[in-house]
Amino acid sequence: MIDNLIELLPDLGVALGQTLVMLGIGLGSALLFGGPLGILLFLVGDGQSLHNRFLAATLGWLVNTVRSFPFIILLVALVPFTRIVAGTSIGPLAAAVPLSAAAIPYFARLVEQTLRDVPRGVIEAAHAMGASELQVVTRVLLVEARSSLVLALTVLAVSFLSYSAVAGVVGGGGIGDLAIRYGYYRFETDIMVFTVAVLIALVQMIQLTGTRLARRLDKR
């Protein structure tokens, strides 16, 4: 069993790298696109300062639609788009495209819900002091919601670590894929157990880091 695992170590290193690439790109685009989308969803919502029923309904519909796809179907359906964006339809970079597509609306919803917990009075006080909409976002919403936003990102990271296992379908690789190919298909139970143990350790680390950071940021 030990021999088996030692033999696996180089593969495991590669897989860990692939997982980090997929997760990094997925979470990066969630922050870059999903974050602003979530803020916009919040601001155009009922009773908020940029309330716009049409925009709220359209964006809400779009987010719901993308989130409706079972991930493996999204992965396949996006293949033509992936080819354009990543230049290939296989490998971790290619897998990062559907991961991002799923992560963006997911994070947008998390951000929108998190911002709803910022007391309306605080936003109103900022308006009364002459804050612009952009200043309300950067100086009030993001400041008051910062610890909850970190927790939301943590939830996203853990979900997408497990999503990334499915990326093996398009040759994305990663630790989850390793568990499926070696452990499950080849009945090498020891390898499966070991890779799952690595995943468990990763999830614990992500959650611990997120929780600690959130606690440090929270002065409420």
Binding site: P119, V122, A128, M129, G130, E144, K219
Partner: protein, 263 residues
């Protein structure tokens, strides 16, 4: 009637859409608030007094009517101009509305950073001045969660005064505070008015507080100004029940003050 008022509201009307159909909150309000006054707005719950206060910085827009502050018609301003006008109107709230993730000094610096008028050293000095004014210099590095309600409201006053406004709007500022804390806060407001000459407009259902604090009071009933008087002026008969109650509290204060003179 009032020469050069700091606020002139003319023919203000506002209705809200409620589940049971449109309900008009204000119907034809005319009000002139003298510069340097402590002006109280009294009324039963739902009389529209908070709505009226929030019209003065256009947090609430009137359906019709004009809102003139410092000679400027606010309803005619662009968004940017309105933001600039709001920098000269401080406001405090029932729930204090401090940013809970910012320290006390960062809260007070908040409007200064928004406006970007002062450089860092002058901003620091201004924050210290404002905290000194409300007696909370020693709490500069604390966070709101570590302060009592009365202290949080005083931080809110310091924040509202940071940009040196000519006007301070107070929306039920003592409703979340106990009686003793309320007295301390009223003293702070009185000092702000006396020392800085800031005009104060205060909405409250706390009649003793209004009677003790205000130089002028308007009673709002059925969305109109029912009457307007000085609480210390007993020479005119009051026409509303609220007005009579207020006059009673005003006289009580007067009695205490003249009593003190005789000692």
């Amino acid at each position: 009637m009032v020469d050069d008022p700091i606020i002139r509201l003319s023919n203000i009307a506002k209705s809200f859409v409620a589940p049971g159909g449109a309900v008009s909150a204000l119907r034809g309000i005319d009000l002139a608030i003298p510069r340097g006054a402590i002006f109280g707005i009294a009324g039963r719950s739902g009389a529209g007094k908070s709505t009226l206060l929030r019209m003065i910085n256009l947090l609430e827009r009137p359906d019709v009517g004009s809102v003139e502050v410092n000679g400027r018609e606010l309803t005619a301003l662009s968004k940017r101009e309105l933001r600039e006008a709001r920098q000269d109107i401080g406001m405090i709230f029932q729930q204090f509305n401090l940013l809970r993730n910012l320290s006390v000094s960062d809260n007070v610096a908040f409007p200064l950073r928004l406006h970007g008028r002062l450089n860092a050293p002058r901003r620091t000095q201004r924050v210290r001045d404002c905290l000194g004014l409300v007696g909370l210099l020693d709490k500069a590095d604390s966070y709101p969660a570590a302060l009592s309600g009365g202290q949080q409201q005083r931080v809110a006053i310091a924040r509202a005064l940071a940009s040196e406004p000519a006007l301070l709007l107070c929306d039920e500022p003592t409703s979340a505070l106990d009686a003793e804390t309320t007295r301390g806060l009223l003293d702070t407001l009185r000092a702000v008015n006396a020392r800085l000459g800031v005009t104060i407009v205060i909405v409250s259902h706390d009649l003793p507080a209004l009677g003790a604090l205000c130089s002028h009071v308007a009673v709002i009933e059925d969305g109109r100004v029912a009457e307007q008087f000085s609480p210390l002026d007993a020479s005119v008969a009051r026409s509303t029940a609220l007005g009579r109650e207020l006059a009673f509290h005003g006289l009580e204060i007067l009695a205490v003050r003249t009593g003190a003179h005789h000692d």
